[in-house]
Symmetry: C2
């Protein structure tokens, strides 16, 4: 696994948030996650299984950003993370992974997606338990932070 | 998806904790998860993809129980959830899903497992975003609670 795998997820997230929610996010520096702890308030996770690779993807939002995206996509502004927000985060997770899957498939990296899982809880952390390294990509926006993590077994 | 899918995960978890950590857990009533919120402090999650089905599994521990299992398996008793505990939870997630996969495979339900993901954070909640219902199975023990959730698309 190397940093090139992260780019399809990166561009897919930027694209989904821009087209679906008119929200601009600014990529930071991608890096191999070592002892670093990256926190989020609501995260979408998905497993990926291919003939020669398997792995996992996560996208973690600050609550403030998730709620702003909710407002921009659906016109609702809930007081906190509720079932509508977790539905939206699950949908974003599916769309981002689906977009990355298409790009990686064209490069010969084929995989199928499991169904997404959404975690909510203030300042939770995620660890991808993969043989390969986890690549972390942080983003900033006017409404809070979001980061993605990708890990493949090879 | 019906309750029969949960049984292989149930027996696999009971078996793994009993043989690996000499820890007895007592199953409660399995049920379809609706508006209910089930919290955990450390959870292992895994995606599953088969030719005709896909889904996700999670197992969520109270911190006290996770640390007791750690102590019984490895002789260490950390003050809180650290990298060793998340490693152990990832490993338990793999073993439980692997055990259930064998049993379900014999019944004709084939799937491949993605790599596990571990979430830590006090009182987080998990939502499986699947077309099918989520089955929730709670357990009690002398050291705290654990519950599993399973969801398949069909």
């Amino acid at each position: 696994m190397n940093v090139e795998y992260i780019n399809p997820f990166l561009s897919s997230l930027v694209n989904v948030l821009s087209t679906m929610a008119n929200t601009k996010i600014v990529p930071g520096q991608p890096r191999v996650k070592k002892d670093e702890v990256a926190q989020g308030d609501v995260s979408g996770l998905i497993g990926m299984v291919g003939p020669t690779m398997k792995g996992s993807f996560s996208v973690s939002f600050d609550e403030s950003l998730a709620i702003e995206i909710m407002f921009r996509m659906l016109g609702e502004k809930p007081a906190g993370i509720n079932a509508d927000v977790t539905d939206m985060v699950g949908e974003i997770t599916n769309m981002v992974t689906g977009g990355a899957k298409r790009i990686l498939g064209e490069k010969g990296y084929e995989f199928s997606m499991a169904t997404p899982i959404v975690v909510s809880g203030k300042n939770h952390t995620i660890t991808h338990k993969c043989d390969g390294p986890t690549i972390l990509m942080p983003f900033n926006s006017d409404f809070g932070k979001v980061h993605i993590e990708v890990s493949f077994d090879k």
